[in-house]
């Protein structure tokens, strides 16, 4: 197991004992790190063109979320935050799950985000991010069981690691809606 803490893993919890994932980072939760009987909620506030990728294994109780910014990493560059990039984050997040007790066949994906906030023609960031994430998941044969992507509004997303439910609130809406 990894004894060195990776710089892009969220370790600090909010006052409520939850994780908020900044761009290019990820958070992971399994049975080992449940403190005081609180299964943390993992969330991202203000998803625009970025993607919130959730991978989880219900049976073995491992969940993780990454906050993806760009579709593909440039080759030949030193990369300190691989979860910035869809083509790296999907693979690495899956490996993290496997390293923390997940079984490959059990892993399922949830994909949220990829909006187009500023409406000008050459703005394909959200669209490209969504495509790239889905391509990578497909190539790893990981099934997407729920997707809420596209559109022109920002989203807030919360994943409950206790019951593996996903809730989304778009800008302008008053309440979170459970979508999975």
């Amino acid at each position: 197991m990894n004894n060195i803490e990776p710089i892009d893993r969220v370790k600090e919890k909010t006052r409520d004992g939850d994780f908020n994932v900044p761009i290019g980072h990820y958070a992971l939760s399994n049975s080992k790190n449940i403190s005081l009987n609180h299964s943390p909620t993992i969330s991202i506030y203000g998803l625009g063109s970025c993607i919130a990728l959730v991978l989880f294994d219900k049976t073995n109780n491992v969940s993780a979320m990454s906050h993806i910014l760009l579709p593909k990493a440039q080759p030949n560059k030193e990369i300190r935050f691989p979860h910035k990039y869809a083509n790296l984050s999907v693979k690495l997040l899956m490996e993290e799950l496997l390293n923390h007790g997940a079984v490959r066949d059990n892993i399922r994906a949830l994909v949220v985000g990829g909006s187009k906030i500023f409406n000008f023609d050459s703005n394909l960031m959200g669209f490209d991010n969504t495509s790239s994430v889905k391509e990578e998941l497909d190539s790893l044969k990981i099934q997407i069981i729920k997707e809420d992507t596209g559109g022109s509004k920002g989203r807030n997303v919360k994943f409950d690691t206790k019951n593996f439910s996903l809730s989304v609130k778009s800008t302008g809406e008053k309440e979170f809606k459970k979508i999975y």
Partner: protein
């Protein structure tokens, strides 16, 4: 010569370079503010410019409340690399602006649900404000640096700051984990106007800017 370095993990800009960026921000925003001031016939009460280099995931920390809904007016300037200018207004500020400039009817907060719901006149007022501000900002910098800087027509969004910044952060952190943000806060008390003007140069253009301004450029990419 001031050789102190401001360390930002692995990224370094000298204090002199930061001061120069702040000065550019002052000059750019100064011209934009004068134009706005003349348009509205009101003096600007507060104007404060800061320049920061910051890791891409912490750019939202430079703003007070990244989760509230704001109007963002965004323009790009295409040079060899890119520059972006974005202006951020609270809903109240936009309402005050529109109602101040438009004598025919008055908008209220309920009318500002989404950009798509906005009537044509209000949208064109907002876009024009963006045009004036980014145009004057860019002109001032173009004069200072003797280069051509023409912003394209701005696009308007109404969303949380976090969501709006994603696309900008994506563009500028394709090759680097650091972003430069030159930010000016301005307030006009009498019409309750609050605006934040942001100027974001790519690291590539930053090297050129420093070169032009004859300062030692020592950026670790």
């Amino acid at each position: 010569m001031n050789n102190e370095y401001k360390k930002s993990e692995e990224f370094q800009l000298t204090l002199e370079q930061i001061d120069m960026l702040k000065e550019m921000g002052n000059i750019g925003s100064g011209h934009a503010i004068t134009a706005l001031s003349n348009l509205l016939n009101y003096e600007i009460d507060v104007s404060l410019t800061t320049a920061e280099i910051i890791p891409f995931w912490r750019i939202v920390d430079l703003f007070e409340d990244p989760s509230i809904e704001l109007f963002g007016i965004y323009s790009e300037i295409h040079l060899k690399s890119d520059l972006s200018i974005i202006q951020l207004f609270t809903k109240e500020s936009i309402i005050n602006l529109i109602n101040f400039l438009n004598v025919d009817f008055k908008l209220s907060i309920e009318d500002l649900r989404t950009v798509k719901d906005l009537d044509e006149l209000s949208l064109s007022i907002i876009t024009e404000i963006g045009n004036i501000l980014s145009g004057h900002y860019a002109n001032a910098l173009a004069d200072l640096l003797s280069i051509k800087l023409v912003p394209n027509v701005p696009t308007v969004a109404l969303d949380s700051l976090n969501a709006m910044l994603d696309e900008i952060v994506a563009k500028y952190s394709q090759i680097s984990d650091y972003m430069v943000l030159i930010k000016t806060n301005l307030v006009i008390k009498d019409i309750k106007l609050n605006c934040v003007m942001c100027f974001i140069p790519s690291l590539e253009i930053l090297k050129n800017l420093f070169k032009i301004l004859n300062i030692k450029y020592d950026i670790n990419l």
